[in-house]
């Protein structure tokens, strides 16, 4: 396997997530801490109560979800990427030749899903809607179950991506977005509503 495979797979898997990181997390030191340490800093919740909150609960949900996603993706992919740098031929014993590629795509979808699940879960906890939390857990189980169909990649990747888009739309709506804003942003105009977690 070549450097091209290595870089290609790593960018497929981590490119969007790192882009999200770069544009929304890195500039705010607090967000970086939450990214690393997760929800462990309970004090921040107290901060948001007395009004001098440097970070909103939605942002925290987003960053925590992104952190979880990055960790899970890193743990899935990193040994693969290390092996991709070494010698060998993919699928020489009759397995699928698309192993690295599909792993990279699966990792990407898992990172995104974790991010959205974070937002949904936090929202469910904040608004006491237990069914949102159950839905998050349920979809997680579904996506993991779908991977049992590997190496039948059509059966695992495509439903996962569909689920990811559905979860994305749900998280978007929960964070205060609406279709008008989406259309406006796609057309390059300013959005008027409150900033979304990603901003």
């Amino acid at each position: 396997m070549t450097l091209a495979v290595f870089f290609g797979c790593s960018f497929i898997a981590f490119g969007p997530a790192l882009g999200l990181c770069l544009f929304s997390v890195v500039r705010e030191p607090l967000r970086v801490i939450i990214l690393v340490a997760g929800k462990a800093i309970e004090g921040l919740v107290a901060l948001s109560e007395d009004g001098c909150s440097p970070i909103s609960i939605q942002q925290m949900a987003y960053v925590a979800g992104l952190g979880f996603g990055l960790m899970s993706g890193a743990f899935s992919m990193i040994n693969l990427l290390a092996d991709a740098l070494g010698p060998g031929t993919v699928g020489i014993h009759g397995d699928s030749q698309l192993y690295f590629l599909t792993s990279a795509f699966m990792t990407m979808v898992m990172i995104f899903l974790h991010t959205f699940w974070g937002i949904l879960f936090f929202h469910g906890c904040e608004t006491q809607r237990w069914w949102e939390m159950v839905a998050v857990i349920f979809t997680h189980l579904i996506v993991s179950g779908l991977t049992f169909w590997n190496p039948l990649y059509l059966g695992s990747l495509i439903p996962s991506y569909l689920l990811m888009f559905a979860t994305a739309a749900w998280a978007y709506v929960l964070s205060g977005g609406c279709t008008q804003n989406l259309l406006r942003s796609l057309q390059g105009q300013q959005s008027e509503t409150s900033p979304q977690p990603g901003s």
Partner: protein
């Protein structure tokens, strides 16, 4: 344990820094926990002539205690003796608070993340590529018992004995340093430091460079090599012990920490290394927190004398400005000291305005509005600063216009890197284990800084991170890795 306003730190709070300085006579340096250090009011230049600034400030409101750990080295072998000094700054809080939000602290946590990460990345990259540092070429004289034994019990016993010897040497050296410091043998200590820096910057970097060239099969003649090493070493000595650009000084400190960690990784056998890490954390905890601990005694002695110790062994993330000096020309003072890590500024009217514009340290305009609405607009003027300066040095009042600077001792860098490096060298889980240990150390650092903000006294930085690191290492290597392996084999995702 959180206080009632857990995240709003008092602006004047100083984080107590427990630094175990290290002596670099030979490869071993130990620095132990450093806590980020905010200096109120008095900002001292964080250059190597830091101690000069501090000794000049007789009326500083804050006291520094630096603790350093030194090691004695024999020329041939690495020694582990390290005297420890601890730097501790205690900040008094005002009744009416200007409160520091966590954002301010967060920025400084990030300022520690970056160098620690960089050091670990350098160590892991070297371990993975240069086989010299994973090759067994003997052991130090301080770990005389071999681990190539016939039985597991014998191996365990040997490693325990090795760790015991190492820790005893460290304790002896620490006490030696305390004694030297108490009897004001500064020249001895300085000489010790200089010799260790020389050995690190010249000899060990020469070995490192040689091994890197061998790994990548680069042809090099001795003349070019001598020139490179000479330049590297001399510039390093100047940067570290005297003056130099901040970034360069930081880079050198990271490099020598990485070199030291690599030597540790090479010459400590496996079980001994883990045991030493664990015991060092416990020792750090005891030495820093017990009333009769050597570190604490060092800190108190330094506090009495109102001086700092050996700033060359401390990593500082920003320059600290010299505040006060109402007698001094504010312009000259600002120009002399103003070299922020973020930008250089031309003359500005007020230091805090400049900072607010370009490097607000987390105090963004929203924060300032909140502060103003809560306590009214407050500005520090030279007059107010002079007035505070004039207070007796053990006064509890404190007005600080600016706090800057996070310091971390190099020993912490070294031990964090040793843990991650050993994990990457010897783990069967390979990258998963390395990643897990890396994240564990960062989380431990976060928590340590948080505890520091809460307790406001000197706390060791090693125990939490190393404990997390060790737990994560063994858990990931033995539990998580086989599981992840099977998952990856079948391409299941959880």
């Amino acid at each position: 344990m959180l206080r009632k306003e857990p995240l709003c730190l008092r602006r004047k709070d100083l984080f107590c820094v427990a630094i175990i300085g290290f002596h670099r006579a030979v490869p071993m340096t130990e620095l132990s926990a450093h806590l980020p250090q905010f200096q109120h009011g008095q900002l001292t230049e964080n250059f190597p002539d830091n101690h000069l600034c501090n000794t000049n400030d007789n009326s500083e409101r804050r006291r520094h205690d630096n603790s350093e750990r030194r090691r004695n080295d024999n020329p041939e072998s690495e020694t582990n003796g390290q005297p420890q000094n601890r730097t501790q700054q205690v900040v008094e809080q005002d009744e009416e608070d200007e409160e520091l939000t966590l954002k301010y602290g967060a920025k400084h946590v990030i300022m520690l993340f970056a160098p620690v990460t960089l050091c670990m990345v350098v160590v892991v990259a070297t371990i993975k590529s240069v086989s010299f540092y994973t090759r067994k070429d003997g052991q130090l004289i301080y770990t005389p018992f071999t681990e190539d034994t016939d039985t597991v019990g014998q191996r365990a016993l040997n490693s325990i004995l090795n760790a015991a010897i190492m820790i005893s040497v460290i304790i002896v050296m620490t006490i030696l340093l305390v004694v030297l410091y108490k009897y004001r043998c500064y020249k001895v200590i300085h000489g010790w430091l200089i010799i260790s820096s020389l050995l690190l910057l010249f000899f060990f970097s020469f070995i490192y460079l040689g091994e890197v060239f061998k790994t990548y099969n680069v042809a090099m003649d001795y003349i070019t090599l001598a020139l490179m090493i000479w330049n590297f070493g001399v510039v390093g000595m100047i940067c570290i012990h005297w003056k130099g650009p901040l970034r360069l000084q930081q880079a050198y400190l990271i490099m020598i920490s990485a070199l030291m960690a690599l030597v540790f990784i090479k010459y400590l056998p496996e079980w001994t290394a883990w045991l030493i890490l664990a015991v060092i954390s416990v020792y750090d905890l005891v030495a820093v927190l017990c009333p009769k601990g050597p570190l604490r005694m060092l800190v108190e002695t330094a506090q009495e004398r109102n001086e700092t110790l050996f700033p060359a062994l401390i990593y500082s993330s920003t320059m600290m400005w010299l505040v006060n000096m109402a007698e001094e020309d504010p312009e000259a003072q600002r120009k002399a000291s103003k070299s922020s890590t973020y930008d250089k500024q031309a003359a500005a009217n007020q230091i805090q305005n400049e900072d607010a514009d370009l490097d607000d340290g987390g105090f963004n305009p929203e924060w300032e509005q909140q502060r103003d609405s809560r306590i009214g607009p407050l500005e520090s003027t030279p007059e107010s600063r002079a007035a505070v300066q004039a207070l007796p040095s053990n006064s509890q009042a404190s007005e600080d216009p600016e706090e800057r600077g996070v310091k971390l001792g190099l020993g912490d860098f070294i031990f964090y890197s040793v843990l991650v490096g050993k994990a990457s060298a010897t783990a069967s889980g390979d990258w998963n284990t390395t990643l897990a240990c890396f994240v564990a150390i960062l989380i431990g650092l976060c928590l340590t800084l948080l505890l520091l903000a809460i307790f406001k006294k000197a706390l060791p930085a090693l125990p939490i991170s190393i404990t997390f690191g060790l737990v994560f290492y063994f858990a990931t290597d033995n539990l998580v890795q086989p599981f992840m392996d099977q998952l990856a084999f079948h391409q299941f995702y959880i």
